[in-house]
């Protein structure tokens, strides 16, 4: 297991490096001069030139790349254009809100998706199965910003059950959790459908295998067969899917954070793009990339923990 984890971690470092190189290329290729954007239309040529030198933009591309690369590994993404605070501080200030939102989205999708998929597979062909099937497709089809707006209108505005905006009082965990319910539902609802469908399909496949037949032939209780013998295997593709799903949840987090006026990475990037605050965009994107790679690393480690065949193949 340790070798597996070490190898998987090494692979993650490579992936982050490649992502950084791609990000650098994208920034370099984007038209427009960061210095003139930062200083506005009334800046003189000398002022722009001075800022370019300060930002290192006058140096050859490979020097710029190396500087970017070595700074990034040290967690130094430069300073925010307006306040001159270090970008990394600005990003880490916002990160917990987005992490909470994604965690909430995963909780919704796993907490509802896995039991529903499992139930549909066990009751295959029944009304419950068909209902889960229809509902899954329906929630997959609804874009998360639509879920966000309607959840806000129904539960916050009309019914007044839950708060409409903000992230809750700092330090008051209960209040923060209450503020998290609707935004995380907006982020996670589509994934309830994906996961329910995925779990149902792989459960049906696993329930047909001969080792499940063996377990039945040994008279094991159905509950043990369903949850311990079948679901442990059926869950594996879902864990991988969820690793990828976090990436998509990160993008729906942008909408949820804007609609519910929550702080967070999505909102930070959105505002930074509008104000051409490129160091913040770069820093936020890289931190998000690292987060995404980490989540997939965790997903692979979970699979390794669940499946001994994966452990020994590394």
């Amino acid at each position: 297991m340790l070798t597996y984890a070490a190898k998987r971690l090494g692979l993650s470092v490579v992936i982050v490096s490649v992502a950084m190189a791609l990000l650098f290329c994208m920034i370099y290729l984007v038209p427009g001069d960061p210095a003139s954007v930062a200083l506005g239309p009334r800046a003189t040529e000398a002022m722009k030139e001075a800022l370019r030198v300060r930002m290192g933009l006058d140096q050859p591309i490979w020097v710029q790349f190396w500087n970017f690369y070595s700074d990034a590994w040290r967690g130094d993404f430069g300073v925010e254009v307006l306040s001159e605070r270090p970008v990394i501080d600005v990003v880490f200030e916002q990160l917990p809100y987005t992490l909470a939102l994604i965690a909430g989205g995963i909780t919704w999708s796993v907490g509802l998706g896995i039991p529903l998929g499992c139930w549909a597979a066990v009751k295959r062909g029944s009304f419950a199965d068909r209902l889960v099937g229809v509902l899954s497709v329906a929630v997959i089809a609804i874009p998360s910003f639509v879920v966000a707006i309607y959840a806000l209108l129904i539960f916050a505005v009309s019914l007044r059950w839950l708060p409409a905006i903000g992230a809750g009082e700092p330090g008051d965990l209960g209040d923060q959790l209450v503020h998290l319910i609707l935004p995380s539902l907006a982020v996670g609802l589509g994934w309830v459908g994906y996961i329910a469908r995925m779990v149902r399909a792989s459960m049906l496949e696993v329930l047909e295998t001969s080792h499940i037949r063996t377990a039945r032939a040994f008279g094991l209780p159905e509950g043990l067969i369903t949850y311990r013998y079948a679901l442990t295997i059926a869950i594996l593709p879902t864990v991988t899917l969820l690793g990828v799903g976090v990436g998509q949840m990160l993008s729906s987090a942008v909408f949820a954070e804007i609609v519910f006026a929550r702080p967070g990475i999505g909102r930070l990037v959105y505002d930074a793009i509008l104000t051409r605050n490129f160091p913040v965009v770069t820093g936020a994107v890289l931190v998000t990339t690292v987060f995404f790679v980490l989540v997939n690393l965790i997903a692979d480690l979970v699979i390794g923990a669940l499946d001994p065949r994966v452990r020994s193949s590394f």
Binding site: S210, H211, R213, A215, R216, A217, L220, Y229, I233, P308
Partner: protein, 332 residues
């Protein structure tokens, strides 16, 4: 006393193309401490028979008639799922054909063997000790350590021995072995058969041994049931079946056994034709369309003819078909 008595068993599956009569009027017994072999081509209903005994028929299938009496008193047909589950693994256990797929890939051998003993009331340590003892009995080296290993860490032959250990752990009255050696190579096959026979004597259970390998059946079994297209065409003790077969199908089947070929042949003999579509069974004898001895009256319903000594054949010519195995030059 017989462990298993099957009387006039009929199993029908409903399919989109109409009802499929998978087992028709099946009769046979498994006496105590005996090994009964079931032989037949693929698709003859062997697997359906096992599933019917275990109460594990697919949802679209069901027993439409007859009885499966276990240990002289319990009729397994129509037994409640809970009572059936209580028998499975405890009094009736099974070794399946595919050792690669028959064990759960994500649970350790020990965990799976402990789970099987969930009704025993033993402590965890006692269950593990019992599991290790069984693994030793099937000659798994370092049995204690093997408990914490996973199926993919064993070879095919070892996995099949582990499956046998699991099946016999609860000392069942009946072991159903569904082609347990088909997926193994020839040397492992012999070793596994010997092990099975050895353990059967030690534990004193009966075995229902399913195979299409005639040599293995002849070697291992006391009695043989020959199945064709969901019917028992002939049954009797192993000597009668192999030396004095009376049903034309059994005779053709034995002729086709490669081990019986006395000289080098370019083409191995086969039985012309195919197993009939079970949705549209031929009238009368089920083998009639492929039988070269068929006459008009074979289209009438055929009863089992008693040939003495428990030897039965479902053929009206059975009494007349004597000693021709030798004449055919196929007897060895």
């Amino acid at each position: 006393m017989t462990v298993l008595t099957i009387r006039d068993l009929n199993v029908v599956f409903s399919t989109e193309a109409g009802p499929l009569h998978a087992l028709k009027d099946v009769n046979f017994e498994v006496p105590e401490r005996r090994i009964v072999g079931i032989v037949g081509e693929s698709g003859c209903g062997k697997s359906t028979l096992i599933n019917a005994i275990l109460g594990l028929l697919a949802d679209n299938g069901g027993v439409t008639g007859g009885s499966i009496t276990f240990e002289g008193q319990t009729d397994l047909v129509g037994l409640s799922p809970d009572k059936m589950r209580a028998l499975r693994g405890e009094r009736i256990s099974t070794v399946f054909q595919d050792p690669m797929g028959a064990l759960n890939p994500v649970l350790s051998i020990g965990r799976q063997m402990v789970n099987i003993q969930y009704r025993s009331g033993l402590s965890r340590a006692e269950k593990e000790a019992r599991a290790a003892e069984m693994l030793e009995l099937v000659r798994i080296p370092d049995a204690r350590a093997a408990l914490s290993r996973f199926p993919h860490q064993f070879s095919g032959g070892m996995k099949q021995r582990i499956a046998i250990a699991m099946a016999l752990m609860m000392e069942p009255a009946l072991l159903i072995a569904d082609e347990p050696t088909t997926a193994l190579d020839a040397t492992l096959e012999v070793a596994t058969i010997e092990l099975l026979k050895d353990l059967q004597e030690k534990i004193g259970c009966s075995v229902l041994f399913i195979s299409h390998h005639l040599g293995v059946i002849a070697e291992l079994c006391d009695e043989v049931v020959v199945m064709y297209a969901g019917e028992v065409v002939e049954r009797g003790d192993v000597r009668s079946i192999f030396n004095d077969p009376r049903h034309p199908y059994t005779r053709r089947l034995l002729e086709c056994d490669p081990a019986r070929q006395s000289s080098r042949t370019r083409n191995l003999p086969t039985i012309p034709g195919e197993i009939p579509d079970l949705r549209a069974r031929p009238r009368g004898c089920v083998f009639r369309p492929r039988c070269d001895l068929a006459v008009d009256t074979c289209a009438d319903p055929q009863a089992e003819r008693d040939l003495g000594g428990g030897h039965q054949a479902r053929c009206q010519k059975a009494q007349g078909l004597t000693n021709t195995m030798a004449e055919l030059g196929a007897a060895t």
